[in-house]
């Protein structure tokens, strides 16, 4: 494809207004148009801006490859268009159709020129490749946007499902429930450390009663979290280790000697209190002493 010899830039530039008029008219008449959701004035404005950018970029003549830097402005425009159309409830197909539908008025125009058949065919082919690539680009944008929404929701879910609670001033508890995967464990552990700093708590009880199995990766994350907490000046107690998990830990060769462990959360809490110089006494005993 010899870009320098292409008729496309000149044709687009010289007949911009005519192309926009035909294009807008065609879109208004088409079945995919939903009047009321999009004003005609807005449609016309978008069509004009797109043609303007298209013409400018084609004129610079360096490349017809929409992924190259010269096409950044056009891509930026399509990106904004996708966003605003999506917000207005249009599907990705409808947004892509906006671009694809430009072919019709363009081809009609090309056929009206007295060029030879080969030139017309070549120019149509260039336009097809270009507009197909741009149309597909808008669907990619849509996919990327959806993916980022999903991953953000996943993060929020993780945060919501593993709350860190304050058992007592200075003592935090992290009851882990369900199977832990590597990613979730990392996020949860980082949250615990942040909460230790935020609350100024010096002890965290990590309870794994609700965790059916622990694999090497998860155990490593647990141990790293304990080590990190210790580096920061806090301590961790792991509670709720069930017999099967104890066996797994030994079989995997994991060394828990640097961590305090307790069978139950309440034992762990008692230990935490003791470490902070506190104890729980019975009120009846107290009043008996006073008497």
């Amino acid at each position: 494809m010899n870009r320098l010899a292409s008729r496309l830039p000149a044709i687009v530039e010289q007949h911009q207004k005519q192309i926009v008029d035909t294009w807008v008219q065609q879109q208004l008449e088409s079945g995919t148009w939903r009047a009321g959701r999009l004003q005609e004035t807005q449609l016309r404005d978008e069509a004009e801006r797109f043609l303007e950018l298209l013409s400018k970029t084609l004129k610079s003549g360096i490349s017809f490859e929409p992924r190259s830097p010269q096409w950044a402005d056009v891509r930026e425009f399509l990106s904004e268009l996708s966003r605003s159309r999506a917000a207005q409830g249009f599907s990705p197909t409808q947004v892509a159709t906006f671009v694809f539908s430009l072919k019709q008025p363009l081809f009609a125009l090309l056929r009206s020129f007295p060029d030879d058949a080969e030139t017309v065919a070549n120019t149509m082919w260039e336009a097809t490749l270009l507009l197909d690539a741009l149309g597909l680009y808008t669907t990619e944008l849509y996919q990327l946007a959806r993916e980022s929404v999903i991953s953000r929701q996943q993060e929020e879910l993780i945060e919501l499902s593993t709350p860190v609670v304050e058992l007592w001033p200075g003592i935090l508890a992290l009851p882990l429930i369900g199977t832990l995967d590597s990613d979730r464990t990392q996020v949860v552990m980082e949250t615990l450390l942040q909460r230790l700093v935020a609350t100024g708590s010096s002890i965290a009880v990590i309870d794994i009663t609700g965790v059916p199995t622990v694999d090497t990766l998860v155990a490593q994350h647990l141990l790293k979290t304990v080590a990190a907490a210790q580096l920061m000046g806090a301590d961790c107690i792991i509670s709720g280790i069930r017999p099967q998990i104890a066996q797994t830990i030994v079989h995997l060769g994991i060394d828990l000697s640097s961590v305090a462990t307790k069978a139950s959360l309440s034992d762990a809490f008692a230990l935490a209190l003791k470490r902070r110089g506190l104890s729980v006494t019975s009120a009846a005993t107290q009043s008996a002493h006073r008497a």
Binding site: E190, L196, V197, K224, A228, L231, M232, G233
Partner: protein
């Protein structure tokens, strides 16, 4: 050239380490601190690293040196305010900062210093 500020809190010194220490600053800090410990007869040193976004082996060594130097001058050192991301990275690095006691914040650090000093004054050698 800027210097790291050293504040006096009773018989303790509070050092607030700012971000992005380079070698020269670290050397100057060690000099200033040892001098001040002697001048003020400080018994405790609190190093606040809450502004440090990163602790590498160099800074780890510097902290270790400060703790060791202070110890020789009969002062105890506690490092406070380590950020979680820094702690996680140190664990990954395998740096354990041996000989350095830590606490979550200045208050906890002061309380820890009191405990350490009380223990050492009454016969404990293991600090």
């Amino acid at each position: 050239m800027d210097r790291v500020p050293i504040l006096r809190l009773g018989d303790c010194l509070l050092v607030t380490v700012q971000v992005d220490m380079h070698d020269q600053l670290a050397m100057t800090l060690q000099d200033d601190l040892t001098n001040k410990i002697v001048d003020t007869r400080a018994r405790g040193v609190l190093i606040d690293i809450s502004a440090l976004e990163m602790v590498d082996s160099f800074i780890g060594r510097m902290l270790g040196n400060i703790a060791a130097m202070s110890r020789i001058l009969d002062a105890r050192t506690v490092v406070v305010g380590m950020q979680p991301a820094v702690a996680i990275t140190l664990v990954e690095l395998g740096l354990s900062l041996p000989g350095i006691r830590t606490a979550l914040n200045v208050d906890a650090g002061l309380a820890l210093l009191r405990t350490m000093l009380a223990r050492s004054d009454f016969g404990g050698h293991a600090d």
